[in-house]
């Protein structure tokens, strides 16, 4: 199905860094290193810079993605997309390390085939999808969405996938299915953050997220299997992840193995960790600050270095109010943040 985004929220002209140019730059960074940084400044940062020596794109060790067949999103071509290299190198995926650059470096040997995704719980026909089913069971379409992180940065990503609603219709939820519970793979051998407290950032594993059933059935809610025309790299949640564009990024759970239809509102990872900072709903809301920083504006990550003028106003529901605001009509959004 085709999602129309109102023209009021669209931007102009494309601004994508050519991949080869980007890689050349990375080589330069690598060859320069951080001379001297280790001597006095030591610690985490230079460790991070040194790690750059291993994130080489030319190494055969890097994860192989494959091209996908999909229907292009022609309605949002005017959104300035975040360059692909930035989308796949700046990730919050604590299973592979809590620093932004770590997932891309520590996930390249991640095995996504075979994979099993089980949809079960309060439904008529529970099913299990295999790796091939993920990209063949439904017609794939591109969705160019804004992604707003709770940390107040944002991107624009051309996802490829299918509506979660289509998948849920297949299992036929029963009348007791009030919420949907999602779970990331738990495999400490492959996901070093799950066994190493320092890498994993101190959150509970497996990562768990949830949606209300109407949110899950909203046509915007996407099960993504790819981005920028290819299957997902591990750092972005291969082989299948959720994308809920009107909510903060942590709701969009990665590398999903289980989707369960449940009766009660699930206990979700960040909400459990700090419920005053991360609500269950986590709708993008410029009027409701995170206790430690403002959510009124955001930095849109595109190309451009330090002087990129990229601070923009944050929009209610991340600009998708027309499609989703009706679901929260009678709710106090400052209470149900």
């Amino acid at each position: 199905m085709l999602i129309k985004i109102p023209s009021s929220s669209t931007l102009k002209t494309s601004d994508i860094t050519d991949e080869s140019v980007y890689i050349q730059r990375r080589q330069l960074v690598k060859s320069m290193g951080f001379l001297g940084a280790g001597a006095l400044l030591g610690s985490a940062i230079s460790h991070k810079a040194n790690a750059g020596f291993f994130d080489s794109k030319d190494a055969d060790a890097s994860f192989k993605t494959t091209a996908l067949n999909y229907k292009a999103d022609k309605d949002n071509l005017s959104l300035i997309r975040t360059p692909e290299q930035k989308v796949i190198s700046h990730n919050n995926f604590y299973e592979f390390g809590a620093q932004k650059n770590q997932p891309a470096e520590l996930s390249q040997n991640f095995k996504v085939n075979p994979w099993q995704l089980t949809i079960s719980g309060e439904c008529e026909n529970p099913i299990t999808l295999d790796y091939d089913d993920l990209t063949t069971m439904f017609a794939l379409e591109e969705r160019i969405y804004r992604l707003r992180c709770v940390e107040a940065w944002s991107m624009v990503v051309p996802w490829i996938g299918f509506s979660l609603a289509e998948l849920l219709k297949k299992v036929a939820p029963n009348s007791s299915a009030k919420y949907v519970l999602f779970e990331t793979l738990f495999d400490p051998e492959q996901m070093p953050g799950q066994s190493n407290r320092r890498l994993g950032g101190g959150i509970a594993y497996p990562y768990v997220e949830g949606l209300r059933i109407d949110e899950a059935m909203n046509p915007l809610t996407l099960m993504s299997v790819g981005l920028y025309g290819k299957t997902l790299p591990p750092q972005n949640g291969a082989p299948i992840r959720l994308v809920v564009p009107w909510k903060y990024g942590f709701k969009s759970i990665k590398s999903i193995v289980s989707i369960k239809l449940v009766r009660e509102q699930p206990q979700t990872t960040w909400n459990k960790l700090a419920s005053n900072e991360y609500g269950f709903y986590a709708n993008v809301n410029p009027a409701h600050d995170h206790p430690r920083w403002s959510q009124a504006s955001e930095r849109r990550i595109t190309s451009g270095g330090l002087f990129a003028k990229n601070r923009i106003e944050t929009l209610p529901f991340n600009g998708y109010g027309e499609q989703v605001a009706h679901m929260y009509k009678n709710m106090d959004l400052s209470k149900y943040y």
């Binding site: 730059r25 990375r26 330069l28 960074v29 320069m32 951080f34 001379l35 001297g36 940084a37 001597a39 006095l40 400044l41 030591g42 610690s43 985490a44 940062i45 290299q85 930035k86 989308v87 190198s89 700046h90 809590a98 932004k100 650059n101 940390e151 940065w153 407290r197 320092r198 950032g201 101190g202 959150i203 960790l273 700090a274 600050d289 206790p291 430690r292 920083w293 403002s294 009124a296 504006s297 930095r299 990550i301 190309s303 451009g304 270095g305 330090l306 002087f307 990129a308 003028k309 990229n310 601070r311």
Partner: protein, 209 residues
């Protein structure tokens, strides 16, 4: 080694300049050219922030080492290290204002007042600035005894900075806890002095009543 004491001081200072200044050159060169990862803004903020904290801790390590190994001349490099600490802290703040908030002044003032961890960071910065300004020999001489009492705030600054760091992270508290322990260890070397300082505050209060 036949180095004279003043040559030793010059040598150590030279090493400090290299180790503290070169990383900044490389950092900003890469960041201006968008070669510092996907989000150079976050990168420069974190680098200068951690760098400032590292330098503060190194500064606080000098006296215990000089005492333990009888290397009195080392005391002469504390000012340089302190000034670099201030320099990194200043860049940290400037990065936040210029590149993250992009001169949204009202947002800046709001954040400084509303977010306790930023308030604490700001207090630490102001104190550090006071120490930097009064590090000039002429001012130092004019201040007499009060110079030392002012510069005793360096211990307080280290504590503020460790709290600022701890409070700023989402869940990855191990590194901030490590830094906090380093801070406490360095302060433990000054146990007697700090105890006297705290006592003197109470004594002043009582006598002034």
């Amino acid at each position: 080694m036949l180095l004279t004491t003043s040559n030793k001081v010059i040598l150590v200072k030279f090493v400090i300049h290299l180790a503290a200044f070169l990383p900044l050159l490389s950092l900003y060169y890469l960041a201006f050219n968008d070669q510092l990862g996907a989000d150079p803004v976050q990168e420069v903020i974190h680098f200068t922030g951690i760098g400032a904290f590292n330098l503060i801790l190194v500064t606080l390590t000098v006296s215990p080492i000089a005492k333990r190994f009888k290397l009195g001349y080392l005391l002469q490099v504390r000012r340089l290290l302190g000034l670099y600490s201030f320099c990194y802290a200043f860049l940290h703040l400037l990065n936040f204002l210029m590149f993250d908030l992009q001169f949204a002044w009202s947002l800046f003032f709001n954040e400084v007042v509303k977010r306790p961890y930023i308030t604490i960071g700001m207090v630490a910065f102001i104190l550090l600035a006071a120490l930097a300004v009064t590090s000039l020999n002429r001012i130092k001489r004019k201040m007499g005894k009060s110079w030392q009492s002012l510069h005793n705030y360096s211990y307080f600054i280290a504590i503020l900075v460790s709290v600022h760091f701890y409070w700023s992270v989402k869940s990855e508290i191990l590194l901030p806890l490590f830094y906090m322990s380093l801070t406490l260890i360095l302060l433990a070397f000054r146990y007697k002095k700090i105890k006297e300082l705290i006592l003197s505050i109470f004594v002043k209060k009582i006598t002034s009543k």
